[in-house]
Subunit: 372 residues, 2 copies
């Protein structure tokens, strides 16, 4: 039995897009929402003060990384994530499934859980559905993810079916270990790679168990763009209307617009800060690749009219100078602009859904903003 922490508010008349609101322990989050990735507790290159100034309502942290450092014992002693980091708003923590998936040579999956080698001290560590839930209790996550088995999109039907079944068993064990803690929401993860029968089976199996929300896992792991778009739409349509839908690890502004059309409510991705380090800035006219020498003399902001703290003050010429000089301040400033861009995009998406104009907004965006 779940409480109604999530409420759908407006629905787009021409697409599956909707707005909603999540009432979480550390605050209210309006959806569709983009969650910047704060792997170790802080979004890369920027500070909590920066995120607060931008108005970011929720960040994602990595269970896997926090498990290795500071680790369960010390984090418990320190009073959990919010106490340690002084981040005051909601957090979602992934389960570690994806990180462990990305270490194929250094992990073994058992029925009980997964064993892997720590990149910090090469020690062997084990995560089980129960320990992942217990650690997310210690973290104090507003939204916890179940431990899942993620496989490449290129795997066989047999392998995908095996990973899906184990994901289901583990999801059930996570749910049991979680018990009744309404202050922390537990989301299940739909797997099944790029096989419609498996995705259908996975969605049905998990939806019966009445989780607080549902994630679409196993995308952006090797499939084609067409497959990703298709399976996002396909799986989103299988998930319950009244629960939040979270597309894990995706993506570009275009991915976000396309996936909101398909009915997705939540996103996370490292792109805004990763591109920040590379000097790639998003604008409403496409990407600006700041390392190109053409920008060395441009005394205009990244985007004319942008209200972010970077565009209000600094020129492309200055950012070029900082980037080419290897100054970490460049990474922070471009990240701030990108995070502001993502935030503005989600705000605009929510406004258009509320006003009934999202369909034409999305069409316009996807047709007219250059994707690469």
């Amino acid at each position: 039995m779940t409480d109604t922490f999530f409420k759908v508010e407006a629905k787009c008349p021409t697409t599956r897009a909707r707005t909603g609101e999540m009432q979480l322990s550390h605050g209210v989050v309006k959806t569709p929402v983009f969650m910047p990735v704060g792997t170790f507790g802080t979004v890369r290159h920027v500070s909590h003060d920066d995120m607060e100034a931008l108005g970011t309502p929720i960040i994602l942290a990595n269970t896997y990384h926090l498990y290795l450092r500071p680790g369960p014992k010390l984090l418990k002693q320190l009073g959990g994530f919010h106490k340690l980091t002084d981040w005051k708003k909601p957090i979602l923590t992934d389960s570690g499934g994806f990180q462990i998936f990305s270490l194929p040579e250094q992990r073994e999956i058992f029925k009980t859980g997964v064993r892997f080698k720590s990149y910090i001290d090469n020690s062997y560590q084990t995560l089980t559905p129960e320990s992942v839930v217990s650690f997310q209790h210690t973290i104090g996550s507003d939204i916890m993810m179940v431990l899942d088995v993620c496989v490449p999109s290129t795997c066989s039907h047999d392998e995908a079916a095996w990973a899906m079944k184990r994901t289901h068993e583990w999801a059930e064990r996570c749910q049991q270990a979680h018990g009744h803690r309404p202050q922390q929401k537990l989301f299940a993860i739909c797997q099944g790679a790029v096989f419609e029968d498996l995705r259908r089976e996975s969605a049905a199996w998990l939806c019966e168990r009445n989780f607080d929300g549902y994630a679409i896992g196993g995308l952006a792991v090797g499939e084609s763009k067409e497959e990703r778009v298709h399976f996002t739409e396909f799986v989103a349509a299988l998930l319950p209307q009244e629960k939040p839908r979270y597309l894990m690890g995706v993506g570009t502004p275009h991915d976000l617009v396309r996936s909101v059309k398909a009915g997705v409510d939540m996103f996370d991705c490292i792109i805004p800060t990763n591109h920040g380090k590379q000097g790639v800035a998003y604008t409403w006219k496409g990407k600006v690749k700041l390392r190109r020498s053409a920008h060395a003399s441009e005394q205009i902001p990244l985007e004319e009219g942008c209200e972010c703290p970077v565009c209000r003050r600094y020129s492309r010429a200055y950012l070029y100078q900082l980037l080419k000089s290897g100054e970490p301040t460049a990474w922070r400033l471009v990240s701030l602009h990108n995070l502001h861009f993502y935030d503005s995009l989600m705000k605009k998406i929510r406004e258009h859904i509320e006003q009934g104009s999202f369909g034409s907004f999305a069409e316009d965006f996807l047709n007219n903003v250059p994707e690469s």
Copy 2:
């Protein structure tokens, strides 16, 4: 003929320390002052907004680095340093002499100037006294330095004498090239390594030429701590009372206190931001080496009662977590604390000089704050 842009305000009754004020084109700077190093136009790890919030009155930029990028032509087109970077307060630019000195394999010194290999594109570049002055005009520096020949403190008397003479010739050529531009001050650099006769000769020669200010160069380049302390005192005493005295590239908080005692008014050093990256924080109880595991669980600020934006919010445990995770935000936060510490130290020094209590403050600081 120079105007009186510098005014000595208070003198310590028991040491050579004094307070003063410099009226510069981009603002007023109270001395003794510490100038954070903004090599390429921005202090490493932090932003101009950060520096403004700290109240930093002046930063140092590197002529050598700015000469290589953006270079004279582009910087002129961009309207100079302040226009390019949007830093609104004064800057001092060194001449490049020190940077070229630190590339012994890749430079040749001629009578006319110095030829060196660019680290950016391996092209050969030449700096002359005239081109260095002209470029500092383009930069728009509030305080410009002459091109000097810096030698290691371990060099012979002959070599030191040769370098000093060339420094003098070049200083004169810089002065001629500078002409009458009261909005930009030109400082000479006293050389002579660790030879009292040469230092005396250099100070006398330069002081006759009536520069706007005088720097002590050629220290912190291989001499012992005792030699550095001795020659700082020795040279400072040879420089005119009514002109600002600048000790280049020095130093630790203890160096600053000792040198203010000797009558030095201005300092620059990369320590606060370099230590920021290493996770070493200055406090009134000595250094805190944040990478030590003892700090992993310390839920106290870097320094109790510190008013910096880092200590007001974050714990050592959090900074430890960020540092160990390689987050650039850690470098920024520790740098901010260190810059605040340096700034507070200089403020305290000025207050004690004004109140006549600097002698006992310095004794107390040097005896009771651990140096390493």
